[in-house]
Amino acid sequence: MGRTLTQIAAVTAMNLRSLPQRKWTSLATVVAIALVTGVLLAFLAMANGFQATVAGTGSNDVVIALRKGSESEINSTLMREQVLLLQEAPGLAKAADGKPLLSPELYVIVDGIKKSSGLKANLPLRGLGPLANEVRQGIRIVSGRMFQPGTNELVVGRSVSKQFRGFELGAKMRLASQNWVVVGEFDAGGNVFESEIWADVSVLQGLYQRGSTVQTVRARMNDPASLEKIRAFSEADPRLKLDIKAEKEFYSGQSRNIGDLILYLGWPLAIAMSFGALAGALNTMFASVDARAREIATLRAIGFRGTPAFIGTMIESIILAGIGGVVGSLGTYLLFDGISAATLGSNFTQVVFSLKLSWSLVLQGLILSLVIGFAGGVFPAWRAARMPLLAAFKEQ
């Protein structure tokens, strides 16, 4: 056993020492594997960032009511009568004056112009009820102030002002032949709300000829367990054909589709590219074994066994792939981590999110690179282990 280890160490050292002679070949393999790892991690970071943003939205203490089957806020409609009935629901938290903490909301789409591309994109404009601030928690005005109810004032999420043109504090704009002004900017902890524009619901109802209808109702519950009571309440009343969901659950459901889409795109691409990189790794390692055929055979001739030749070659391959994996992860981190991207979310509006690398993702990338290194080493290593002794004496 000890002898074998010594032999392995000797052969591995010999392989690694001769690396500089094959530096361009080895470098090409390292870069190829780094690129594969990088592509995979970029996609994983995208999916991760998107999911973190969308799934990080919403609270378990907030209930959201939508028209049955509408799936998303944009498709939902609730009548005034339904909003009033909901105020009677059990388990709702109450304000000091005894009113339930409930916010009827409108959700319409306006155009924004992306700073990055100069192109139009859909932005959500949400109308909030008077108690919205008590319903949602964790919203912080970071500059300016909240809008005054009953006025044409807007507050915008941080992502909106960062990614879209003309939403800075004090900016004026025209929406449906009326003048609006941005009076504040809010932070919502990096979630979907930061991609929204908020205004007073009653002003928007007038502006968009919605009469007294709204799209959704959000309400704060006494505790997450109240959800079932509210749902039972809604189902007992034929006038309330509604979907009742916890806000958190509502958003995590929405993140699934697009997050999955990115993943389903990223993994197959990375695997396809891995086959390409694997071909490169195999070529490099076969060339490495061939170049050292005489040395390997000579070692065999003087009594080294096949195992050290096998393991030595495997180690070389795995080390090269490992370097590629680390370089790829580092490159992705430096180039992509934290950069902003935006895509259409389930409400047909833009969701701004940041690419987010995590250790578990990096681990996935490293595993992929090591798998390439392993597969790329095993056949050449086999050839090395079975190198005929005659190769030591062959000319050339």
């Binding site: 594969v36 990088g38 306006v110 086959f275 195999l282």
Partner: protein, 384 residues
Amino acid sequence: MTLVELVRKNLFRKKLRTTLTIVAIFVAFVIFGVLATFQNAINAGVEVAGADRLITVNKINFTLPMPLAYPTRTAGVAGVKQVAHAEWFGGYYQEPRNFLVAFAVDPKNYLDIYSELILPPAQREAFLREKTSIIVGKASADQYGWKVGDRLPLKSNIYQQKNGSDTWDFTIAGIYTGNDQRVDTTPVIFHYDYLADTRSFGDGTTGWMILKTADAKENPRIMREVDSLFANSAFETETKTEQAFNKAFAEQLGDLGFIVTSVVGAAFVTILLIVGNTMMLTVRERTNEIAVLKTIGFTTRRIFGMVIAESMLLAVIGGLLGIVVAWLISFALAGPLSRFGPVAFSFDTAAFAFVLMALLGLLTGLIPAYRAMNTDIVTAFGRK
């Protein structure tokens, strides 16, 4: 034997190595072909857009409605030949995941303007005659196995019927095809009047208008005039060419162009390295033989050409295989990706693939060929 054969024989000497290299090239071209097809699907709307068609939407955003009186008023603008209007139904079949692109339109004008939708005359007449009839695109008909005459219940995730039901019943009057493979044949199209009469809200409004103009050169003036017609009303409009509208629509998904270019770029840099590296190995191993060829009288130019030809051959074999497989995959993707647009492998993609093959062959061959060309006979033999 010919020089070409000599190149071919050289290439396939190390069968394993050459096969592996071809696999790498193959993979890159499959990635390219599939992603380009995906991008085509998203851009198809832009390419088939008629130059003489304009789209008028609510100025705030195209998801917002406009009064039903607008189409008639717009038809009066000089240079507008025909106007149709349409409404988004938010339709699905049986379950929400069977999402359908469903439009409620004024049928005659709509079919006149979208002349790329091909419908047998008898089916067209039947459709126009019956208010509760619907026409379905071939792609959707194939996907769900619908036939002419079938009853088709569709649900909406936006509207409800006045009677509280969320299901509308239709009879399939026809199945349309496109006059070009890029035409999207997933949408289903039915009578606006049927929706307007039955829905519980949305009275007196429609979604957007499609304008056919007499002369594309007049478009800028017509766009201005239409929009000024409704300026300062509660429903201001914005009119764009269909092409610009479709393009903006596709861009909303995100910067797909950038993602596709980056991934294809990474894949190609990878194979550039792998193939270039392999060619270098090959040339280095053959130093002696190259010296022999030179001794026999092969000129440096010819040696250079032979190495380039070899890397070209490598790129073309791998590239062609990749493109053929990408083409096959595009059929498999047609179903799952249909919601993005009609999936088809385009001639442009194939043409660009050939440019890529040539570039790949050239770039990977250049340094090794240069090296081979400069192989010095004296030192090559001196090595022994």
